[in-house]
Amino acid sequence: MTDDTQLLAVALRRRDPDVLDRLIERYQHRLYRYLLFLTGNAALADDLFQETWVRVLERGHQYNPKNKFESWLFTIARNLVIDVSRRKRIASLEEIGDPHSEQSYDPPDDRAQSALQMLVTRENEKAVQLSLLKIAPYYREVLLLRFQEELPLEEIAAVLATPISTVKSRLYRGLEALKSALPGGAA
């Protein structure tokens, strides 16, 4: 537990609006990117981005300074994505908790992918990013947290509320799935 996280916990309990403003500025890119790739839908990512920060305000007293703030932030965002997927049944994000579920995974529709494409500028990265959207969400989210957000395994396990061994096995399988989803088969 650092002094920074301790001070942050106090500020969150006080619902200090200036601290929240600074946090929104600081984490906007990482959070938006995470939500965009988890949902594959820019408009939904926009809504969930705002809702995540409203939850940070309302549940600030629950933040434990022993954990990194970004892990807590990603946990809130992930729970919101699961809530939305349960309500709208968009993609089978409910399966996040159960990769061996027999329910089939529906990839995001073409409109969602084209919305994402508009935001992605470099041509040689499009294939990787769109391949990411094709793989099952429970693999996608661990790959995002590990290789995009560069969280350690322990933090990913905390975000997913799952054992480290499960995180590792999803990472290995996710890497294989990502390589298979690339145009041409495997990297």
Partner: protein
């Protein structure tokens, strides 16, 4: 079944990405990749793939942060207006305790008078007296629990 050096190299490479490698195995992998162009190419391609993942040039909508900041501030104000401040709750609790302490002799006499009139057993009267004292604390507890429930639902 024996593992080929190439299969072992690919496996160790993925392990190095996911959870890291012990120094001895890292050394073996580095040596193998220096000698085997096929494995070196495969691992370089995977590194490139992950590098592309990291350098995603996602553009955050220009006004998203500002809109969110405004929404959070408005929600903060609404919540502050809707719920009684904790200071007020403490003042009410303290006042209720003081009132309880100073009114205890009168209340005790009241219960004694009630006992004479109704011939109720002494344990019932004592329980009534304790409850009389506990009521403000129970109300305060109910208010706090209600606020927490509302907070966690939000």
């Amino acid at each position: 079944m024996n593992e080929t050096p190439h299969a072992r190299a690919r496996k160790l490479f993925e392990q190095s990405l996911v959870e890291g490698l012990p120094p001895a195995e890292q050394k073996w992998l580095d040596a193998h990749l220096r000698e085997c162009t096929e494995c070196a190419f495969a691992t370089a391609t995977t590194r490139e793939l992950l590098s592309a993942l990291r350098s995603v040039p996602v553009t955050v909508p220009g006004d998203l942060a500002a809109r969110t900041q405004l929404k959070v501030r408005l929600r903060s104000q609404q919540t502050a207006e809707a719920s009684p401040s904790s200071t007020l709750l403490w003042i009410i609790t303290a006042a209720s305790w003081l009132l309880g302490i100073f009114s205890a002799p009168l209340v005790w006499r009241g219960f004694a008078w009630l006992g004479e009139r109704t011939n109720l057993p002494k344990p019932v009267l004592e329980l009534g007296f304790v409850l009389w004292w506990a009521v403000p604390a129970l109300i305060a507890l109910a208010v706090v629990l209600h606020q927490r429930a509302v907070g966690s639902r939000a």
